[in-house]
Amino acid sequence: MTDPEIASPSAFPEPSVLATHSAATVRPVHDEFHGDLLEVSMGPQHPSTHGVFRMVVTLDGEVIVKLKPVFGYLHRNHEKLGENTTYLGSMPYTDRLDYLCSMTNNWAYALAVEKLAGQPVPERAEYVRVILAEMTRLVNHMCLVGFLFNDLGTSFTPLLYAFREREKFIDLFESLSGSRMMCNFQRFGGCRANPSPEWLGAVSKLVDGFPKFLDEYEQLLTGNEILLARTQGVGCLSPELAVQAGITGPMLRASGVGYDIRKADGYGIYPRFDFRVPIGAHGDTYDRYMMRILEMRESVKILQQALRDIPAGPVMDPKSRLRNFRPKPGEAYGRIEGPKGEIGFYLISDGSPNPLRYRVRAPSFVNLTVIEDMCLGRTVADSVVILGSVDIVLGEVDR
């Protein structure tokens, strides 16, 4: 340590808590007040907690020594309702899990049921799914970057850019599925509607113009000195901890672990596309921000290839049954690489119209479990930014 003000974690009264994480450096307080800890409850109504999340933070001065996340303020009994409705009846509920990316939730659920029932999917539907999933990824990452800058104190401006662009995507979702946010579009064995050539042309036009927006966005944000000062070296997550905690998605890749289910599983038709998986080096908040930006550029590539190659044909397997759908007894786990990480659905069928067990593996819930390790030794203001970079949606965390 070159800075004499900053002591090693072992100098702090509770070394056992802090020694677990290498990046946690704390500033000891040498005055008569030292030792008085302050407990602050952030949330559930707090502008930076992205919904109704609550953090009980124990502070020494302004430094976090303990952070306890409190979940469950949006527990909407998703899994219990899923066990009491038919397989198809759960599809609209999956929209409301991660309400920024309903299309990927739909796909993950459809994939699980298709695995359970052995249902094939037509070629064109696979392409449509890839197109919609990558569009969702663009929307999610754009909005995440906007919200992250909100947490940094920009007061809405980057979010206005993101939402301006998001509206263009949302309009396309609406013209295809009839709903802006809750698309409810995928079905077991295909998609609900066949996109017209005009719709695909509109997507193509939007996607081709997207890198220009991204350049503008990055020019405004990426080199910004405040961003660099507030995010570089903040909230480091080591690759070992990330793997042990089951972190997935851009957050895992920011820590330097090259794991992307699109490459690892090759579900759908992803092996046909040429794209790279960006990987970070430090695992700090800045890397997590850059992962989103770089992934958006790769998504644009996938979209361009998919829009070029999409074949004609039906989008629904004619043999698929939606009404009175009773899969054979068995179990299946379907997972995809959602914008936030691995979103998976685990289903057990007993041959009845309802699943016997319906379980959601929500990426933002798992990613949130390491929030304490990232925040220890940082200030309260940093914890807000770190939480923003995790990318949580409370509908999915609490389910």
């Binding site: 919904g51 109704v52 527990h75 409301r96 802006r180 946010m181 509908g395």
Partner: protein, 210 residues
């Protein structure tokens, strides 16, 4: 108390052309209030995203003077209950409502805030925020479009403009006997305790033929 509309609108317009502006205290007070409604920056679930979309450039809630989203309930006039209220969250929502100063208004945005919506059957979902908070405007939808929220806001503005300053029908915040804080339920073992505020909401009784 002055009678309603002592002069007609035509007469007033005529006077305005002559350079004389006539108004009543009630009118100008309500006009000012209705055009500067500050909502509480408070998102619960999916509808919050549409609420943010309403605040952004395309829909621009600033056109109606309601763009100042306040994170503190003490500075807010309007609570937009945007999303599912769970039983764990309901005490906090009602506490926030109690912390808002009068005059205050409540918009129940979306099916969940109105009745529990698609999650009504869930064991942890409050079946409508109107069981504890007096709701002024209900906006159906799952989630409602931003245009619907704007329409709800316009309806609220109409409601504010129609409020009386004096008399038996005076607005809630001007009546000395007007209700103060609402009952904050307890997050009990099985349900909220009590499950609804009897002053605000009673279970509807079915009309029976005798």
């Amino acid at each position: 108390m002055t009678p309603e509309a002592p002069i007609t609108d035509n007469e007033r317009e005529e006077l305005r052309r002559q350079g004389i502006m006539l108004t009543s205290l009630q009118e100008i007070y309500n006009w000012g209030r209705s055009n500067s409604v500050w909502p509480l920056q408070f998102g619960l679930a999916c509808c919050a995203i549409e609420m943010i979309a309403t605040a952004t450039a395309r829909f621009d809630i600033a056109r109606f003077g309601a763009e100042v989203f306040r994170p503190s309930p003490r500075q807010a006039d309007l609570m937009i209950v945007s999303g599912t209220v769970t039983k764990k969250m309901a005490p906090q929502v009602i506490r926030l409502w109690n912390q808002m100063p009068e005059p205050k208004y409540c918009i129940a945005m979306g099916a969940c805030a109105i009745s529990g919506g698609p999650f009504k059957q869930g064991y942890n979902v409050l079946k409508g925020i109107d069981r504890f908070i007096p709701v002024d405007i209900y906006i159906p939808g799952c989630p409602p479009r931003p245009e619907a929220l704007l329409n709800g806001l316009i309806e609220l503005q109409k409601k504010i403009r129609g409020e009386k300053l004096t008399g038996p029908n005076a607005a809630r915040h001007l009546r000395p006997d007007g209700p103060g804080e609402r009952l904050v339920p307890e997050f009990g073992e099985h349900d909220l305790n009590p499950p609804h505020d009897p002053e605000v909401w009673q279970a509807p009784s079915l009309p029976r033929k005798t």
